[in-house]
């Protein structure tokens, strides 16, 4: 098991390095000139050339990429100019290892950017996962048990209706009506635990998390329902009934445990995807999370930030996959003991 995880991590690191290279190549293959954005409006060709030089965009892609990898290991100075550092150290930003780059657009190191945005996205995502998992699985199981009844049809229909609304609509609805018009909750502003305590933190997450959860819950209701129904027809569930077990015991011990296995995979991947994927929700509520950061970096051609985000989110997907596989081993003895 231990060796397995080490092997997976090793492969993951290689994948991340490859991803960073692909991002570099794609970035420079595009017709947009990144230096133009950095140089600002009224940029003369000379100035643009100077900027490109200062940002290092004039170097070959491979050199830039190896510089980037070196920076992760050793740290880097921006601009990386020993003379300037000697002459005017206040103009040079040092980015300690592991350095993922420096965003000229935001005049911050990528590490700083992520450090600010990450807790926001993580908080929203975790809160959303907890919400949709709890309600999605609960409603899905209820629908499966009462299959074909009005309860089942009602749950499935409601989930579908919610799913049909785009998340910006749900987000705006919650914001405009629940928070602003009816004043049921405060207008959400992201609050860290340090600022507002656990309570303040949680209440600031409520509306964005609900918005996200609505989107995913519908799918989880339907999938849970399908998995439970499928598992109910398994031979071993019939064996359990033939033993004379009570209905509830059959459901919890035999049906649910098997039905929840495939959900674990989905949760892991959805969670990883959510980290950078909550763009709309973060925009609606104006939370400065990773999604918003990614969106901004894209519109301004901010290569260092884009690369930093690609690697971070890639890391999440890889870790989520490893964790899912480890969870499988915990759940299913066929994976654990050959």
């Amino acid at each position: 098991m231990y060796a397995y995880v080490v092997r997976r991590l090793f492969v993951g690191v290689i994948m991340l390095i490859a991803m960073s290279l692909v991002t570099f190549v794609l970035f420079f293959a595009s017709p947009i000139d990144p230096a133009r954005y950095a140089c600002g409006k009224n940029c003369s060709p000379e100035l643009r050339e100077q900027t490109r030089n200062a940002l290092g965009y004039d170097k070959p892609v491979i050199v830039q990429w190896t510089d980037f990898l070196k920076g992760i290991v050793q740290g880097r100075d921006y601009p990386d100019d020993p003379e300037l550092r000697a002459a005017a150290p206040e103009l040079v930003t040092h980015c300690p290892a592991p350095c993922f780059g420096y965003s000229v657009v935001n005049t911050k190191t990528v590490n700083e950017e992520i450090k600010e945005a990450f807790p926001v996205s993580l908080s929203i995502s975790v809160a959303a996962v907890v919400l949709w998992l709890f309600f999605g699985v609960l409603l899905g199981v209820m629908a499966a048990i009462r299959r074909g009844t009005i309860v089942d049809r009602g749950i499935v229909a409601a989930a579908l209706v919610l799913y049909a609304f785009p998340s910006f609509f749900i987000g705006l609805f919650l914001l405009k009506f629940i928070a602003i018009k009816w004043e049921l909750v405060d207008v959400p502003v992201y609050t860290t635990i340090a600022e507002g305590g656990i309570g303040g933190w949680l209440s600031s997450l409520l509306l964005p998390a609900v918005t996200l959860a609505m989107l995913y819950m519908a799918g989880y209701v339907r999938m849970t329902r399908a998995f439970v129904l499928e598992s109910m027809t398994e031979d071993y569930v019939r064996t359990a009934r033939a033993k004379g077990l009570r209905q509830n015991k059959v459901l919890v011990k035999h049906t649910m445990r098997a039905a929840l296995t495939p959900l674990v995979t989905l949760i892991g991947l959805d969670f990883a995807g959510l980290m950078g994927g909550a763009i709309i929700t973060e925009t609606v509520f104006n939370y400065n999370g990773l999604g918003k950061l990614a969106y901004d970096a894209n519109t301004t051609n901010d290569l260092p930030t884009i690369i930093g985000l690609v690697l971070l989110l890639g890391t999440f997907v890889i870790l989520a996959n490893i964790i899912v596989d480890m969870l499988y081993a915990v759940i299913d003895p066929r994976v654990r003991v050959g």
Partner: protein, 429 residues
């Protein structure tokens, strides 16, 4: 996700496995297509000892590596699925491979169709060795050797019509022009006893027996010389099995196809094949013509296997044969027992069996057996018949006084001379 289907079929949940869903759901008019072959057609094929072999397998081996679970995955062992198997299948004849699950019979079948690359040995098909042929060069070969699978429910792609399933090989191998594919497909449907007009239907519209007919039609499309049939009837209802067996015999006769018939059902194999090989843990333990193998088996495993088959007709006349009980399970093919692989479950095993592997010794005109104590049931010799031939004493220890005889063991086919167990000399016809 599955709402629609589950609503339409409310009986499916919580149902026991006896599926009450109507078979007649398939709209294929069953009276129209059911195939009742003329009775004269089905006499079992006869072994022609002089027919030249279309397929000759020599010392075939298939080892699957077992990987360690460390950081660097090393091969730490091998599953010896097939370990030195030799046999011949004559042109238009059929050889049955029987044995219990894990004995390597299905792997052998797949090696012949080259779904796997054998670890060792040769497969001589029609005069050339195909055991090392590359994937690209295999394409023409695939026309000549076809396979019929066990499960008619999973071996047909549900999204393709029957016509395209049967016609696909014709298109891939470009044997006939495009506009000739459909007539050929209809001809094939007719041969296997299905309505030729049903070429545009989908597999789910057919019953299990009919699907197996489709599988047979697909295998026949390219007019193969060899058909590997892997448990072709074991997934079918009893009353349907006979229909399919009869059909297979008809196509064998009509197209002169050689069969490698892989099955666990000894009665079905006996019915179909004039020559049968019994496998145990990757090796052939006994191979003989049908009469010899079933009436005078010499290997204790064959004897046990035969005695374990419940025989309805025997019971109908009142007699119940004594069963030979085999204890335990088949050992792991990763660490097979030393010497004779059957010795751990063998009722007559002795010291020599653990030390020396018995050679597959020809003991009759068309009869080979791999046992130190080969003999008919109840007449197994007290001393190993193989010891003098192998140059060992009765316990299997090397005997300096004895000279081992040159044995043509593990050759495919039979030799004109054989070792007579009774007289302990070489004999010939």
């Amino acid at each position: 996700m599955s709402d629609r289907t589950s609503d339409e079929l409310p009986v499916s949940a919580g149902m026991p496995n006896d599926d009450p869903r109507p078979r007649g759901e398939d709209p294929v008019d069953s009276d129209e297509i059911d195939y009742v072959a003329p009775l004269e057609a089905h006499a079992a094929s006869v072994a022609d000892p002089n027919a030249k072999p279309i397929l000759e397998v020599r010392d075939l081996k298939m080892y699957f590596p077992v990987k360690s679970s460390g950081i660097i995955r090393r091969t730490i062992g091998q599953v010896q699925a097939v370990d030195g198997v030799s046999f011949q299948v004559p042109e238009g004849g059929s050889l049955g491979l029987v044995g219990e699950s894990g004995c390597g019979k299905s792997t052998t079948g797949r090696l012949i169709t080259r779904l796997y690359q054998p670890t060792g040995g040769t497969i001589n098909f029609d005069g050339r060795d195909i055991s090392k042929t590359s994937a690209r060069q295999l394409k023409p070969l695939r026309r000549e050797i076809q396979m019929i699978f066990q499960d008619p429910y999973t071996s047909l792609n549900p999204r393709h019509s029957v016509g395209s399933i049967i016609g696909a090989p014709l298109a891939i191998h470009k044997v006939v022009p495009r506009d000739k594919i459909l007539p050929r497909v209809q001809e094939l449907l007719d041969i296997v006893g299905l309505n030729p007009e049903h070429y545009n239907r989908y597999p789910h519209e057919f019953s299990g027996g009919q699907r197996q007919r489709i599988g047979i039609a697909r295998a026949l499309t390219l007019q193969p010389k060899v058909l590997v049939a892997d448990e072709p009837v074991s997934a079918l209802d009893v009353s349907i099995q006979a229909q399919v067996i009869n059909l297979l015999q008809d196509v064998q006769r009509e197209f002169n196809i050689a069969f490698l018939f892989v099955a666990h059902d000894l009665a079905v194999v006996r019915h179909f094949c004039p020559e049968i090989a019994v496998m145990y843990l990757g090796k052939i333990v006994e191979i003989a013509d049908r009469e010899t193998l079933y009436n005078r088996p010499n290997h204790p495993y064959t004897q046990a296997l035969l005695s374990a088959v419940p025989d309805v007709k025997q019971a109908a006349v009142g007699g119940r044969r004594e069963r030979i009980r085999l204890e335990g399970d088949v050992p792991s093919p990763i660490n097979p027992p030393s010497g004779c692989r059957f010795r751990t479950r063998c009722p007559i095993a002795q010291e020599i069996c653990a030390r020396v592997e018995p050679p597959l010794l020809q003991i009759g005109q068309r009869h080979k057996v791999a046992c130190h104590f080969a003999g008919e049931l109840g007449k197994h010799p007290d001393r190993p018949v193989t010891a003098p031939l192998l140059g060992v004493d009765d316990t299997g220890a090397p005997d300096p006084g004895a000279t081992p005889s040159p044995l043509a063991a593990n050759e495919p086919g039979y030799s004109d001379t054989w070792y007579d167990l009774e007289r302990k000399t070489m004999a010939s016809a």
